[in-house]
C-alpha cells in the first residue's frame, strides 16, 4: 500500500514540478497552445464592426509568410516578440486613439505612403474618404453629416443633396463589391472614355453598362443598378456645374446657383474632389496605403518647416499631395519599414485561410479559428505544422469584391510576427491536471481507509449478483457458458474491465467443471483471454480441465462476428451468455438470438447507444460504470473496494460541483464554467 501511495504521490508531484519549472502562464493568457507549441494569434473584439460588409459577401483572409530569424535584425525581433499577440480588430475608441496618434506624429507611422492635407472646411469629405478607405463604411454617414454641415452655408442645398447621394451610392457600390468582373469592366470603361467630355462619358458609360453588364453573372446587379442611378445624379450635378440645362424637376433658381458656383470656385472644391477621387482610387488599388486627415496645426507646422511653398498650398491640394508624397517617401526610406521590406522582399505571402466575414465564429468555427468567451470576446487562430525557431509574419485582410484592406494589429501596424517554440506543459490542460490530482487523491485516501476497514459497505449491483447465478445455472443444466468480450482492443478500458470479469468467470467455471467458450473479436484480446483462462484454471488446480475452455478468434468484422456467435448459440445452446465490454451493431444481433434461445444473459457496456438494446434483450445489464465495478464487487478485495468507494466519493464531489456550478451560473458567476472550459 505504501508503495502505491509513494508511486502515486511521486507521479503527481512530478507533474506539478514540471508545470512550475516550465514557468507556464495560466490558461487565460495562453489559451490552447498547439501541440508543437506554436503561438496562437489573437484576434479580439470588434469583428462585428465588419459584419455588415461581410453579410454582403466580404471575406476575411489570413495570410502568412516565414522569415529566417538569422537575417532579421535583433532589435526587430525583440520588438516583434514583444507584440506577438495580434489584435486584429480593436474597439472604435482604440481606433480613434491610433488615428489621433498618427495625426499628431505621422513620422511614427511608417506605413503612411500618401497624406492629403485638408483644411477644416473639407473635413467632412475627408472623413468620408477615410471611412471608404479604412473599410469602415458605417462611419460614412458621420462624414456625410460633417460634410453637409460644413457646406450648407456655401452652396445650394439641392446640389449638396445630390453630392451626398453620390457619396452614398458610391458607398453602396463599395459595400456590394460589384462582383468578380467589376474592377476589370471599370478599367475597360475608363480606358475607352478617357478622352471624352463629362456628358459624353456619362452617355457612353450608360450605354456600355446597359449593353454589356446588365444580366451578367460575374457582375453584381446591385452595383449595376446603383451605378446607373449614380450616373443619373452625376449628370444632374454636371449640368449644374457646367451651367448646362437645369432639370425642371430640381427647380433651381439662378441666383443661389450663381452664388454657389462662385463659392465652389473660391474654395477650389473641384480640385479637392478630383484629387481626392484619384487618391481614393489609388489607395484602393494599393491596399496598404493609409489616409491621414490633416489639421490646421499640422499645416502650420508644415508651413514653418518651409519644405512646401505656400504658393503651392494656395493653388489647391493636388500639387501639395504630390510634393508631400516625395517628401514622405524620402523620410520613410530610412525607417524600419524599409528594413523589413528589404529582408522579406523575396518571400511571398501565403494564404492560410479565407472565410466570409459574416461567419459565426461560435457556431461555424473555421478550421484555423477557435472562439473563446473567456475575458474579452476573442477569436484565436491556431496554426499547425510550423517550424520551431523560424519567424513567421501574419496579417489579416478584409476583402470586398476586388478590394482588400489590411486589418490593424494591436499596435496599429498591419502585420504581426511570432517565433514558434516547443512548450513543456500544455497550459490549456491545467484544469484537467488539477481535477485528475484531486480525484486521484480521493481514491488513494479511500484505498488507505479500505486497508484499515476491509468490511466496507458496497451497494448491491443486481447485474453482478446475476453473474454468479448464471454460472450456477449453466453448471446445473450441464451446458456451456458463452463469454463475449466485445469488439474493443486490449488498449480499451472496457475490454480490460471485461478481462477482469472473465478471470472470475473462468475460475468459477473451472471450479464447477463447466465449459466456457470465449469467441474473440481481436487476436490480441484472444491471446490475453487465453492467458487469463489458463491462469484461472491453474489457480483452481484444474489445469488438466483446460480443454473444457475454448478461447478462439472469430472475425474482426462485426457482422461476421455476430453471424458466427449466433451460430454457436443455435448449435451448442449454451445456458448462459455474458456480454461484457465494448459493443457495436453486433450487440442486438447476438443478444436477441440469445433471448430467443432462452439463455440467461448478463450484459455490460460503456456504449450508450447499445444500452437500450441490452436492457430490452438481456436479463441483467451493467450500465456504464457498473462494468468497471465488477472486478471489485466480485472479488471483495479490500483494495479494489477502496478504489470503488473512492470512485463513488469522486462522483459525489462531481454532483456537488455541478449543483454549485448551476447555482453560481444562475447568479451570474461563471468561475466554475471558466475553470472547466
Amino acid at each position: 500500500m505504501r508503495i502505491f501511495m509513494f508511486k502515486y504521490i511521486l507521479a503527481i508531484c512530478g507533474l506539478f514540478i514540471l508545470l512550475f519549472v516550465s514557468g507556464c502562464e495560466p490558461p487565460a493568457k495562453r489559451i490552447n497552445p498547439p501541440r508543437t507549441g506554436i503561438e496562437s494569434l489573437q484576434q479580439p473584439q470588434g469583428l462585428r464592426a465588419y459584419d455588415s460588409p461581410g453579410d454582403k459577401g466580404g471575406s476575411i483572409i489570413l495570410t502568412w509568410k516565414s522569415v529566417k530569424t538569422e537575417n532579421t535584425p535583433d532589435f526587430l525581433i525583440r520588438e516583434e516578440i514583444r507584440r506577438r499577440q495580434f489584435k486584429a480588430f480593436i474597439s472604435e475608441k482604440e481606433k480613434e486613439q491610433i488615428r489621433k496618434a498618427v495625426r499628431a506624429d505621422y513620422s511614427a507611422e511608417p506605413e503612411i505612403d500618401y497624406i492629403v492635407y485638408s483644411p477644416k472646411k473639407y473635413e467632412g469629405l475627408m472623413k468620408v474618404l477615410a471611412a471608404f478607405y479604412s473599410g469602415e463604411t458605417g462611419k460614412i454617414n458621420d462624414g456625410v453629416k460633417a460634410f453637409q454641415s460644413s457646406w450648407k452655408k456655401y452652396g445650394n442645398t439641392k446640389r449638396l443633396e445630390i453630392i451626398i447621394s453620390l457619396i452614398r451610392f458610391s458607398r453602396d457600390i463599395l459595400d456590394d463589391g460589384g462582383g468578380p468582373a467589376w474592377k476589370t469592366e471599370l478599367k475597360k470603361w475608363r480606358e475607352e472614355t478617357r478622352k471624352l467630355g463629362f456628358a459624353d462619358k456619362c452617355d457612353k458609360l450608360e450605354e456600355y453598362i446597359k449593353s454589356n453588364l446588365v444580366g451578367r453573372r460575374d457582375v453584381s446587379d446591385v452595383s449595376v443598378s446603383l451605378t446607373l442611378k449614380l450616373l443619373e445624379l452625376a449628370r444632374i450635378e454636371g449640368d449644374i456645374r457646367g451651367l448646362g440645362e437645369i432639370k425642371p424637376s430640381l427647380e433651381f433658381k439662378k441666383k443661389p446657383y450663381g452664388r454657389f458656383r462662385k463659392g465652389l470656385n473660391d474654395m477650389g472644391t473641384r480640385a479637392v474632389r478630383k484629387e481626392a477621387s484619384a487618391l481614393l482610387e489609388r489607395l484602393m488599388k494599393e491596399n496598404r496605403a493609409r489616409l491621414a486627415v490633416g489639421e490646421d496645426k499640422w499645416l502650420a507646422d508644415l508651413k514653418s518647416s518651409r519644405e512646401i511653398d505656400e504658393k503651392t498650398l494656395k493653388k489647391g491640394l493636388g500639387p501639395v499631395y504630390e510634393n508631400m508624397k516625395e517628401r514622405f517617401l524620402e523620410m520613410f526610406s530610412k525607417s524600419r519599414l524599409k528594413v523589413i521590406e528589404n529582408i522579406e522582399a523575396n518571400v511571398e505571402w501565403g494564404l492560410l485561410q479565407k472565410f466570409n466575414s459574416s461567419v459565426n465564429f461560435k457556431k461555424e468555427t473555421p478550421s484555423a479559428c477557435e472562439w473563446r468567451e473567456s475575458g474579452e470576446d476573442a477569436h484565436y487562430f491556431q496554426l499547425w505544422g510550423m517550424e520551431d525557431g523560424v519567424k513567421y509574419r501574419f496579417r489579416v485582410e478584409l476583402q470586398m469584391g476586388e478590394n482588400k484592406i489590411n486589418v490593424q494589429a494591436e499596435d496599429g501596424g498591419s502585420e504581426v510576427a511570432a517565433v514558434p517554440g516547443p512548450d513543456w506543459f500544455y497550459a490549456g490542460k491545467l484544469n484537467l491536471l488539477i481535477v485528475v490530482a484531486l480525484l486521484g487523491t480521493i481514491i488513494i485516501l479511500f484505498l488507505w481507509r479500505a486497508k484499515r476497514n476491509p468490511n466496507m459497505f458496497l451497494r448491491k449491483i443486481a447485474g453482478l449478483d446475476a453473474v454468479d447465478d448464471s454460472i450456477g445455472r449453466a453448471t446445473e443444466m450441464g451446458r456451456d457458458i458463452l463469454y463475449l468480450m466485445g469488439n474493443g482492443q486490449m488498449s480499451d478500458l472496457p475490454t480490460i474491465a471485461s478481462a477482469n470479469i472473465l478471470s472470475r468467470v473462468a475460475r468459477e467455471a473451472a471450479k464447477h467443471n463447466t465449459k466456457l467458450k470465449v469467441p474473440c473479436f481481436d487476436p490480441v484480446v484472444m491471446s490475453v483471454a487465453r492467458d487469463i483462462v489458463k491462469e484461472a484454471y491453474l489457480a483452481e488446480g484444474k489445469i488438466d480441465d483446460l480443454s473444457n475452455c475454448e478461447v478462439f478468434f472469430v472475425s474482426q468484422d462485426p457482422f461476421s462476428y455476430a453471424a458466427n456467435v449466433d451460430g454457436v448459440i443455435l448449435r451448442d445452446k449454451p445456458a448462459t451468455n455474458l456480454m461484457m465490454g465494448q459493443f457495436g451493431p453486433e450487440a442486438l444481433l447476438i443478444s436477441e438470438v440469445g433471448a430467443s434461445q432462452g439463455m440467461i444473459q448478463v450484459s455490460g457496456t460503456n456504449e450508450i447507444s447499445q444500452l437500450p438494446f441490452f436492457i430490452t434483450t438481456t436479463d441483467y445489464t451493467l450500465i456504464g460504470e457498473e462494468l468497471f465495478a465488477a472486478s471489485a464487487y466480485l472479488s471483495r478485495n479490500s483494495k479494489l473496494l477502496g478504489n470503488l468507494k473512492g470512485q463513488d466519493a469522486g462522483k459525489l464531489l462531481l454532483i456537488i460541483v455541478i449543483i454549485l456550478g448551476t447555482i453560481l451560473s444562475t447568479l451570474g458567476f461563471d468561475i466554475l464554467v471558466k475553470f472547466f472550459e
Binding site: 502505491f4 508511486k7 512530478g14 507533474l15 514540471l18 501541440r35 508543437t36 507549441g37 520551431d388 516547443p422 512548450d423 513543456w424 506543459f425 500544455y426 490542460k429 484537467l432 486521484g440 481514491i443 488498449s491 478500458l493 480490460i496 477482469n500 478471470s503 472470475r504 487476436p523 490480441v524 484472444m526 490475453v528 492467458d531 487469463i532 491462469e535 478462439f552 478468434f553 474482426q556 468484422d557 457482422f559 461476421s560 451460430g567 448449435r571 451493431p585 444481433l589 436477441e592 450508450i608 437500450p612 438494446f613 436492457i615 430490452t616 434483450t617 450500465i623 456504464g624 460504470e625 468497471f628 472486478s631 472479488s635 483494495k639 478504489n643 470503488l644 470512485q647 469522486g650 462522483k651
Partner: protein
C-alpha cells in the same frame, strides 16, 4: 519466475502508463517523438497478432471438420473461403478492379448488409418486449416511446399541429440528454479509477493473477 509473470508486467505497466499520462500534458517534441515510436511498436505487434488469429481460426475449423461436429459443413465453407480469399489476394492483389475488389463488392458487402438488415426485425422484437405494459415503468416507457416515434414522422406533426415533435425534442434534449450525461460522467470517473488501479498495480486480474 514470479518476477517475470507479475512484477515485471506491473512495472512495465506503471512506466508506460505514467509516460502516456505525461504525454497528454507535455507537447514538447522531445516527449512526443518517443510516443510516435511506441505507436509504431503497437502497430507492429498488432500485425504479428494476425498470425495468431489465423492459427486459431484454422485450428478450430479443421478440428470441427475432422471430428464431424454438428455444423461442420459451415466450417468447411469457411476454410474454403479463407483459402480462396488468401489465394486471390496474394496473386492478384487487392483494390478496385481486382478479383478481390469484385469479391468485396459482390460478396462481402451484400452479406454484411444482409446480416445488418436482421437488426430491423430484432429491433421490432426488442421494442415489443420493452413496450409490454407490465409495470408503471413499462407504461411510462411505452408512452415516451410512442411520443418519440410519432415525433419522428410527419404524421405526428400533422395530428398534433406540430406539438408532438416539440415534446419529442424536449424528451430527447432534456431528460434523455441528462441521463446520458449522468452515465457518461460516471463512466469517465470509473475509467479514471480503473486506469489508476491498473497503473498502481492494485488491479492485476487482467494478468490472470486474481487478488
Amino acid at each position: 519466475m514470479r518476477f517475470f509473470r507479475t512484477i515485471l508486467p506491473i512495472i512495465f505497466c506503471f512506466v508506460t502508463g505514467a509516460f502516456a499520462c505525461l504525454l497528454s500534458f507535455i507537447p514538447h517534441p522531445a516527449v512526443q517523438e518517443p510516443t510516435n515510436m511506441l505507436n509504431d511498436w503497437a502497430i507492429v505487434i498488432t500485425t504479428f497478432s494476425v498470425v495468431l488469429a489465423v492459427q486459431s481460426f484454422v485450428s478450430r475449423h479443421t478440428k470441427s471438420i475432422a471430428s464431424r461436429k454438428p455444423g461442420w459443413g459451415y466450417s468447411a465453407v469457411t476454410m474454403v473461403t479463407l483459402t480462396g480469399a488468401a489465394f486471390i489476394g496474394i496473386f492478384w492483389g487487392k483494390g478496385p478492379g481486382t478479383p478481390m475488389g469484385w469479391v468485396y463488392e459482390h460478396m462481402i458487402t451484400p452479406l454484411s448488409s444482409t446480416v445488418y438488415c436482421l437488426s430491423v426485425f430484432f429491433i421490432a422484437s426488442a421494442a415489443y418486449k420493452a413496450f409490454r405494459v407490465r409495470s408503471s415503468g413499462a407504461t411510462l416507457l411505452l408512452i415516451t416511446g410512442l411520443i418519440v416515434m410519432l415525433g419522428q414522422i410527419p404524421f405526428g406533426a400533422m395530428i398534433s399541429g406540430g406539438f408532438i415533435p416539440l415534446v419529442k425534442d424536449w424528451i430527447l434534449e432534456v431528460p434523455n440528454m441528462s441521463a446520458q450525461r449522468g452515465i457518461l460522467l460516471g463512466l469517465a470517473l470509473a475509467m479514471f479509477a480503473t486506469s489508476l488501479k491498473i497503473l498502481l498495480g492494485i488491479e492485476r486480474t487482467y494478468l490472470g493473477k486474481g487478488d
